[in-house]
């Protein structure tokens, strides 16, 4: 994990009231999908940064999906790769988040699924390492 200079402010391109006030400090171990091993910065960019999902809710476009358990991440990644195999890579990365990395909020039907809004300046990919590879 690298030493980072973070501002505890969100990027100015976040919509107003984003993240929502109900989001908590980002604490604990989380898992995220990745297309490359070792982890690459591009796998830790939001839809907004990637210029994708223009119709998605604006605040959600600024967040990254993470999972609280590797099992949940594995299940969802398998599901996504069964549907769009070229869009989703085979890797699951594990990271340890703390309050200086941003805010987090549970989202959707899966209680393990969370949205993570990272503070400006957080080198997100440096917080993670690949822990699992799904076979195709």
């Amino acid at each position: 994990m690298s030493t980072q200079s973070v501002s505890l402010n969100f990027p100015d391109w976040f919509p107003s009231n984003c993240p929502p006030s109900t989001a908590d400090d980002a604490l604990g171990i989380v898992y995220r999908f990745a297309t490359k091993s070792p982890v690459a910065a591009e796998d830790f960019l939001s839809h907004k940064e990637l210029g994708l999902a223009p119709k998605a809710p604006p605040c959600r476009r600024c967040s990254l999906s993470v999972y609280r358990t590797v099992g949940s991440a594995r299940r969802k990644l398998r599901e996504l790769r069964d549907r769009s195999p070229a869009r989703f890579g085979p890797y699951i990365a594990e990271g340890s988040l703390s309050a200086e990395h941003g805010k987090i909020k549970q989202e959707g039907a899966d209680p393990d699924h969370h949205e993570w809004w990272a503070y400006q300046g957080v080198q997100r990919h440096t917080l993670f390492r690949i822990v699992e590879t799904l076979e195709s």
Binding site: L50, A56, S65
Partner: protein, 400 residues
């Protein structure tokens, strides 16, 4: 990036491609959705890849019947997309359409398409599927015997896994349903191409519990396969399983593997139970030989006693756990068993109908059984026709 093969057409020919109904989404982004073409006809869009701030979709013209079948889980996403009128559409960051190609579905690379069996509702994805692979299997070649073999292999393998998984649950006090509930799963679909058969979840769900049991079944299968493929010829109990349960697991592997002769050379197993981590597994004839070797090696140690015969009435039967209780015994001093008033027998699937008929009729039956360690297994069950004394006693080997 893969370049679509087809003629470019005007960006506005398909309309705005604005989602009218989202069928599957992730992170708020519709990945599979319905849009209307300029004439108001339905288009099914499915996200294939993203690149350079662009999303590429496969667009298929569908009718209400296809959409209904897709939403009801009667067809998978791939089948719904495989239509005579297809396009590829690239959509830019601002949701404008950059390029549209009129394409033939067959020219879309398989690696970007949804996998067979992936349903629009993930809850309807196959829990377990089994595919026969071999030179003699395929459209117009698969025999009725192969189809029966596939169904039996799946049912038998799942039954063994369910029995083991439920044993684990019972150890910690949880008794979530019965073996039949977790093994006699509802048929989802079959395919002619290298014959495949798929099964879904039980219809009456036990939320949470089902997932635990099926996950345990998947883990057991993985452990069994790993042990069968381990580099030794003898028998060693799998860590955490005793000898009997290790043998049961090897029996599961054997049931799922292809016969050593015939048209079926390999068997691919997949579905959520198998593929959460690995996707699918291909079982070979070598796996069968190895599992049989392990089972034989385990049986060198004597663990059974001579079969015995006793007559009685099946007063209780548990169709889920494949066991019954025989009472009104004659003689009451049963060979091998001793002086008892009832015997709890386990039985195999082949005796299921007989057991249920006997239970329903309460007719006196003759059971040939054997003691395996501390349990009793029914080997054969027949209607008692003579006097009780003639129906009971020890059974010589080969007398069945």
């Amino acid at each position: 990036m893969w370049e679509p093969e087809g003629n470019r057409i005007g960006q506005d020919k398909l309309g705005s491609l604005e989602p009218r109904e989202v069928l599957y989404e992730f992170e708020g982004e519709p990945l599979t959705f319905v849009a209307d073409d300029p004439g108001g006809e339905a288009l099914l869009l499915h996200s294939l890849v993203t690149f350079d701030r662009t999303s590429r979709y496969l667009v298929s013209a569908i009718d209400s019947r296809i959409l209904g079948d897709l939403k009801a889980g009667r067809i998978d996403v791939l089948s719904a997309l495989r239509q005579p009128r297809c396009w590829i559409a690239d959509v830019a960051e601002d949701a404008t359409i950059k390029t549209v190609w009129r394409i033939e579905f067959a020219l879309v690379p398989e690696k970007v398409l949804p996998r067979p069996g992936a349903m629009i509702n993930p809850d309807l994805d196959p829990l377990f599927r089994l595919r026969l692979i071999g030179s003699g299997v395929g459209p117009g070649r698969t025999s009725a015997g192969d189809v029966r073999m596939a169904a039996q292999a799946a049912e038998s393998g799942l039954r063994g896994l369910a029995r083991l998984a439920l044993d684990e649950k019972k150890k910690v006090g949880a008794v979530p349903g019965n073996i039949r509930y977790y093994s006699d799963l509802p048929f989802l679909f079959s395919r002619a191409a290298s014959f495949e058969i798929a099964f879904g979840r039980p219809r009456d769900r036990l939320p949470g519990i089902d997932e635990e049991v099926f996950a345990e079944m998947g883990r057991l299968l993985e452990r069994g396969l790993k042990a069968v493929r381990a580099n030794n010829d003898g028998f060693e109990p799998i860590e955490g399983l005793d000898t009997d349960r290790t043998i049961q697991l090897f029996e599961v592997i054997r049931a799922l593997t292809p016969p050593t002769r015939g048209d079926v050379e390999r068997v691919e197993i997949g579905g959520e139970m198998v593929g959460e981590r690995s996707g699918s597994r291909v079982l070979t004839r070598d796996d069968r030989v190895r599992s049989v070797q392990r089972i034989k090696a385990s049986r060198k140690a004597p663990r059974k006693e001579a079969p015995f015969r006793v007559s009685g009435v099946i007063e209780e039967a548990d169709q889920g756990n494949f066991c019954f209780t025989l009472r009104q015994l004659d003689p009451s001093d049963v060979p091998v068993v001793g002086h008892v008033t009832e015997i709890l027998f386990g039985f195999e699937e082949r005796l299921y109908d007989t057991v249920m008929e006997a239970f329903n009729s309460l007719e006196r039956m003759v059971v040939v059984g054997e003691r395996v360690d501390s349990q009793y297994q029914a080997l054969d069950i027949k209607l008692a026709v003579g006097t009780a004394g003639e129906e009971s006693g020890s059974v010589g080997f080969g007398s069945k």
